[in-house]
Subunit: 498 residues, 2 copies
């Protein structure tokens, strides 16, 4: 098959726009054909809307962006394209006619694929010239972000068409899934549709609202489905004997009216297939190992959603607000008392090195040290009276400098703790020295020499802190007065000095 | 209802262990009752296994951990607990008998809840003393990480029981979903079960393997379901007219054999309910606004999964490997030439401030500056010959110091670029000065004064770099020889110096 430099789109719409954005981003030219000339502006808008998210997908170096052109002539598109993707409405006779027409204008080595959600390729390729170069390539919305594309061949489709299409879709960042048998709805839409029809029944029967039904997924199974499917998840739920145990335990439920869909008979042959399939998926990994992987991604996803204050992330946020409130009400004395004279720096934070914090050498990435030092300042600032309410008034401390020295390493799962020492302070500034220790051996692994400046964000300039905050700062300074100044503080970066 | 200090567990197993881990972590004592004494060791093991992931869920301050005790006497548990959660096998007569028994030993203001997946509360509370304090509280595995708990009342359940149970589950970090009507399977398991039975049919009919069916979810719809359910997602897919358009467009598919589940008739009344429901979910947000939110979380989740090399994250990783390979083969000249004499620092990286990078004041968090500076070193190291193969040989540069000065701010979506200047180098060390600029106005917003040390990780000590790497370092130094030394380099943090 030929090298794909230009993707031809037959029909635009949401799916066509998504294909265009993805292909252009990864350096493929796109020519879009639509009988309606106004769709040119539309597709350019769709590409522009997709770009901000797409631009954040990877920071790896990209080839120069592809060029987008538009034509109302199907023939012009068919003659320029190296690969044609059809995205017209889901009507079999219309698709058959258009695919036949485009196939007569395109060279025989140009793959023609259909984005159909559920029509089957044998039906679609019926009237085409060179039908062996046709397949279904079914993407998911938003096409520019979701990697899945189902590839389905019809009776006349050649294996080399499937292989070449898979290669092209991989090039533009996708995960081609070869659906080996034609079936209405392919694989994904059959599963989605079963869930969707059950939803319609429940709304129809007045059991629940659409919002309640969405909640029933996003706070639970939906989080799991982001990285493991139902089968592997049920394999894990079965404990050490996996899917076989799960089927023995929940097999009887298949007879219960838990959905309006009747289950197939749970024969020995079916049980064997389910067990063999999930064992292949486990690929020798123990249940315990898979559980750890599941737990890791579930934690990490919830933390990402927390940033967006959506779904399980919103739950986590409000939990944290409550925990901070309880802690300041004295329920949890995690950090020392600000005013008590001490011969030790204040212990601020206990943390654990998270799996997503490590890099290729399995050590915590450099910038995560900055994150832990920053997290550690949070309880200190709260003790100084710089809390949500204070920040909401537009005043806060900004970091102006942070000099981190790396003295040791931390691996996944290791515990860390951070201490702080106030070196100098005036009405606006705090010079804080932090130390990070590894929990298992109390080894000092990093220091941070930091300068904070109090700002009034409305006035957009430095301003003295509140008298009450200043009083607490002085209290803190007095309590730590006996501490020796760390040798590492106030040093510069340079070759001569190491 | 009484304040919950002690949670009683009736039955242990995977679900009971999950409840124990979650409650203990958030400061609730747990007393577990199981007739089998060997389950004490089992549940302690389950709690220990859950702890590493649970410990990473939040860095907010926690109350002191709860204490776990165990008894083989149901009565002892019932008399000590302030809230009782039942987790015994899914057999109605057994559950009825045990719930009745426990209800006779527990005070009447102690809520008793069942973890049942699908049995209905009216059946379960039949023989209980004070049945008004009973409800179903159905959690999801792993109970210690997934926030969803379905609360279902039976005919005799009081509203105050549901309210008090919701309060308790919220306290231990969960999202209580009140299921307003009793139905076998409640809400979530009906949806899961429809999907599960469709899977069993497809495996039974030889259409696909369990692995293929899992792929059909995790690379596509599963990513969406982590934060938006089918209904809101379909509302988005309908474009500006949302769910109504979507039902008009895909309504006919409900008659097609896309699943073995028959759909209800798409009446006007049902359409109205679907439209009203999703409009309430959209809560005044435009389709465009919701699309941006969807795109943001889809990007962020894929990046988290990338760290674990799982599902869509694995797809992203291999895409990036290919992009780096193509770039070094010259397809994308994103950065300058190492050997050409220049009067400018080398431009290393173009980036965009991601939504998950900003903090409460909508500016990029401090530690993300460190991340961008670190990302920017990656293309430079690759040009110096420090690539995967070199690192795989156990040699690499470690950051020993990084002094960041913050001079300005960056908001979400703003573009950034980073330049680098080599200040000094010897056989083992690189002293690199980076500058970060805001794209829109070329404003310098941060500098990083960094020292890197070449190490041999096998020997665990500093070692000279490869001659080839050293040659490229010298080449780079020569090319930048004409650049003036930045005034900010080699300065120390301190109050007197600003």
């Amino acid at each position: 098959m030929r090298k794909v430099k230009t993707l031809g789109l037959l029909g635009t719409g949401v799916i066509g726009g998504g294909w265009a954005a993805r292909a252009l981003h990864f350096g493929i030219d796109v020519i879009a054909a639509d009988v309606k000339p106004e769709m040119e502006e539309w597709i350019r808008g769709a590409v522009a809307n997709a770009e901000p998210a797409l631009a954040r997908l990877t920071s790896a170096p990209l080839p120069p962006k592809g060029k987008l052109s538009f034509t109302t002539e199907l023939k012009v598109m068919a003659q320029q394209a190296d690969f044609i993707q059809e995205n017209i409405p889901e009507q079999l006779p219309l698709k058959q006619r258009m695919l036949a027409e485009v196939s007569r204008h395109a060279a025989a080595d140009v793959i023609i694929a259909s984005s159909t959600s559920g029509l089957t390729p044998t039906d679609l390729q019926r009237d085409m010239a060179a039908p062996e170069r046709f397949c279904v390539a079914h993407p998911f919305n938003p096409v520019y972000l979701l990697p899945l594309v189902e590839l389905v061949g019809g009776q006349k489709t050649s294996q080399s068409t499937i292989d070449a299409a898979a290669k092209f879709f991989t090039y533009i960042g996708m995960h081609p899934l070869h659906v080996r048998r034609e079936i209405p709805g392919h694989l994904t839409d059959r599963l989605q549709e079963a869930l969707w029809r059950e939803i319609l029944h429940m709304v129809n029967d007045g059991i629940a609202t659409t919002g309640e039904l969405d909640e029933s997924i996003i706070y639970g199974p939906g989080l799991r489905w982001a990285a493991m499917g139902t089968n592997l998840i049920y394999h894990l739920a079965g404990g050490e004997s996996g899917m076989r145990h799960m089927l023995a335990q929940f097999g009887p439920c298949l007879k219960w009216p838990w959905t309006k869909l009747e289950a197939p008979e749970l024969t020995e042959a079916l049980i064997d297939r389910m067990v063999e399939g999930t064992q292949a998926q486990a690929a020798g990994r123990s249940i315990r190992e898979l559980e750890r992987l599941r737990d890791d991604y579930l934690v990490a996803i919830q933390q990402v959603l927390r940033q967006y204050n959506i779904g399980a992330g919103a739950t986590l946020r409000s939990l944290e607000e409550r925990l901070f409130k309880d802690a300041s009400a004295g329920h949890a004395a995690t950090i020392g008392d600000l005013g008590t004279p001490t011969r030790l720096p204040m212990r601020l934070l206990d943390a654990v090195v998270r799996p997503e914090w490590v890099d290729y050498n399995r050590h915590m990435s450099d910038f995560r040290y900055g994150q832990v030092f920053g997290d550690a300042m949070e309880p200190l600032f709260r003790q100084l009276g710089v809390d949500e309410a204070y920040r909401a008034s537009g005043r806060m401390y900004y970091t102006v400098e942070n000099h981190i020295r790396h003295l040791g390493e931390a691996k996944v799962g290791e515990s860390l703790y951070v201490t702080a020492q106030l070196l100098e302070a005036d009405n606006k500034r705090l010079h804080v020295f932090q130390r990070m220790f590894r929990g298992r051996d109390d080894q000092l692994i990093a220091t941070a020499d930091q300068m904070y400046l109090h700002v009034d964000t409305a006035a957009a300039k430095a301003a003295p802190a509140d008298p009450q905050v200043r009083e607490r700062v002085q209290q803190f300074a007095r309590a730590q007065a006996a501490l020796p100044r760390p040798a590492e503080a106030g040093r510069a970066v340079g070759l001569g000095k190491h």
